[in-house]
Amino acid sequence: MINYILRRLLYMLVVLFVVAGITFILMHSVPGGPFDKEKKLPPEIQANKEKYYHLDDPLPVQFFSYLFRVAIPRITNTPPTLQTDDDYLISVKVGKSWFRWMNFGPSYASRNRTVNDIFREQLPVSFQLGVIALGIAIAIGMPLGILSALNHNRWPDYVSMGVAIFGVSVPTIVLGPLLVWFFGVLLQWLPPTGWGAKPPFVLGLFPDSLGWEYFKYAVLPAFVLGFGSSAVIARLTRASMLQVIREDYIRTARAKGLHERLVVMRHAFRNALIPVVTILGPLFAALVTGTFVTELVFGIPGLGKYFVTSISNRDYPVIMGTILLYAVFLVVSNLLVDILYAVLDPRIRYN
């Protein structure tokens, strides 16, 4: 198992390297640079700015020095400064020297913010939204799926699948404004925009208090985000349950007089869970980083807007940072899913 995880981690590094390479090539092949404005800067100033950010280096040099700064930890004796190119995500003092790792570089669009600042202040908001949404998706999706599989081709099946189809058919840009209008504007039960937690976050990711003051901001966006995904989970749970429920061991379990609830939960559901777990990995990554429509509709200060504006601004470090972040989320959650497999299904052994 350890061997398997190590091999997967190595493979992850290769994937991340390729993703970084493709992104780098693609974003530099888009014409225009970060300092090309409608009103042209004087050429000397433009050249100076580009020199300051090392944009005048050859592209391979830029690429590898970026990777070097991000991936290779460095140990120095000089304390960290407030320079935007000296901001490391992990910066620990060990004895006299500093252990510093992951410098994602400055954001060209701002004079004093770095990509790491975005990770510290905006990413946690998107992360919290994604986690709550995933919880809602599972809480709605799995019971619906089980319900419709147990009542196959009867009315609870039709109702559940109707809800599921509603979930995939009514996209965020439709459901979001509708709910904002209904609960935020018409009834004024919930705040239409904003988020209930501010940096600094506990452990860099979590809000410091979890009361109604926090959740009243999260209810609508997390529901909108989670509802669409709950449909995916519901359909998959249903299909997988339908298959499992016809297996011989279910008949055996029933034949020996086991309580129906035990048959469903322990024998059927646990086995039906495996395909469902597969989807949770990519779903989680997509929910955490791909929340930008929801954030746009609900005015949530998350990572979302940086996704889009960084590309139109040619803000190279932010583009690289956000895409790599997504890729890391995806490969890590896929790895976790594969490990979960082995827990759920004792037949699966990684050697």
Binding site: V15, L16, V18, V19, I22, T23, L26, M27, S29, V30, P31, G32, H152, N153, M161, I165, F166, V168, S169, V170, P171, I173, V174, G176, P177, L178, V180, W181, V185, A239, L242, Q243, P282, A286, T289, G290, F292, V293, L296, V297, F307, V308, I311, S312, I319, T322, I323, Y326, A327, L330, V331
Partner: protein, 345 residues
């Protein structure tokens, strides 16, 4: 690395979703029958046909042009809308010439929704076609040749999977829009740019969607090919000396088509949504080409004052996605062999 080196080990690799046993043509008719008997799928199909007719005859159906402005009537609403939303009575311009109202630039909402059908349906049909062609070609080459080719090709797909799809499309759009914006006359890029202008900016969206959506299709195709490749009738075809391409297109492809069609139909709502989303954030079709996504974006900015401007295009988008989802679900029930036994009661 010839086609004959079919190692069983490569079969065990990776997930093989939905094994498809060989079907004959008569089973296709049976599937068709099952589809028509499915009421939800039938409803979806009828709605899609109606939408297609709407797109085709948009010029006849729409009472106004989609771009012509009548600024005097900006934000006007018909009488019945004020009855649904009484708050509007206080400030809205009432004009009963318009069926569901006018947007803030004085353009008829209904006409724009009707013309917007064209954009959504074009994406719904051409986007999947591109991703189907790329995905099936890629997946079948990978599955058919197996071994090292397969391994390499699937690793490429794995890497592409780690890309955030929407970001990739946005990056591609930025690339297309700037590189092909002012190319020299006579070059390929120039003609592509001109073509895109003719389509109102839709061409690049469809290419972008097609280029980012094929990985799932490729994986499924590969799995299907791997499972069919070992069948006796393929062995028989090979024994009588059929060429690789003949085996691929005459013997394998027709037998694995069902699940591929199901997957593609079920991903159509996703494609429609991608276009609407791109237009929603302003990276989609060029104005004034009407897209439901951009109409929802404009409308939701005036949500408090004129809810009708967002609600109607939102309804149109949701209806279309419902229709394709119903049809896709029906197709899956009709074609997916795994669930076949569960359909007959």
């Amino acid at each position: 690395m010839t086609a004959e080196t079919t190692t069983p080990s490569s079969v065990a690799e990776g997930p093989i979703p939905g094994k498809a046993p060989g079907k004959s043509r008569s089973l296709w008719q049976e599937a068709m029958l099952r589809l028509v008997r499915n009421r939800a799928a039938l409803t979806g199909g009828i709605i899609i046909i109606l939408l297609m007719l709407t797109a085709l005859f948009a010029d006849l159906i729409a009472p106004y042009s989609f771009e012509k402005q009548s600024l005097l009537n900006a934000n006007a609403v018909p009488d019945w809308v004020t009855r649904v939303f009484p708050a509007l009575k206080a400030y809205a311009v009432i004009n009963n010439d318009y069926l569901i109202g006018v947007d803030k630039l004085g353009r008829d909402l209904f006409s724009r929704i009707v013309y917007g059908t064209r954009v959504s349906l074009a994406v719904a049909f051409i986007g999947p076609l591109i991703s189907l062609i790329i995905g099936v070609l890629y997946g079948s080459i990978s599955g058919f040749f197996g071994g090292r080719v397969d391994n390499l090709m699937m690793r490429v797909v794995d890497v592409l999977y780690a890309f955030p799809g929407l970001l990739f499309i946005i990056l591609l759009m930025a690339f297309f829009r700037t590189t092909l914006a002012q190319p020299e006359e006579g070059t390929f890029a120039y003609y592509l740019g001109q073509l895109d202008k003719q389509f109102g900016g839709l061409l690049f969206i469809m290419i972008g969607i097609g280029l980012t959506g094929w990985e799932t299709q490729a994986r499924l195709t590969r799995g299907q090919v791997l499972s069919v490749r070992e069948k006796d009738y393929i062995e028989a075809a090979r024994a009588i000396g059929a060429s690789n391409s003949r085996i691929m297109f005459q013997h394998i492809l027709p037998n694995i088509l069902g699940p591929l069609i199901v997957l593609e139909t079920l991903s159509i709502p996703g494609y429609i949504y991608t276009e609407a989303f791109l237009s929603f954030i302003g990276l989609g079709v060029n104005p004034p080409t009407p897209s439901w996504g951009s109409m929802i974006a404009d409308g939701s900015r005036a949500l408090r004052a004129y809810p009708n401007q967002a609600l109607f295009p939102a309804f149109a988008l949701a209806l279309t996605m419902f229709a394709f989802n119903f049809l896709g679900d029906g197709l899956r029930d009709a074609l997916e062999p795994r669930l076949r036994g569960t359909q007959e009661k």
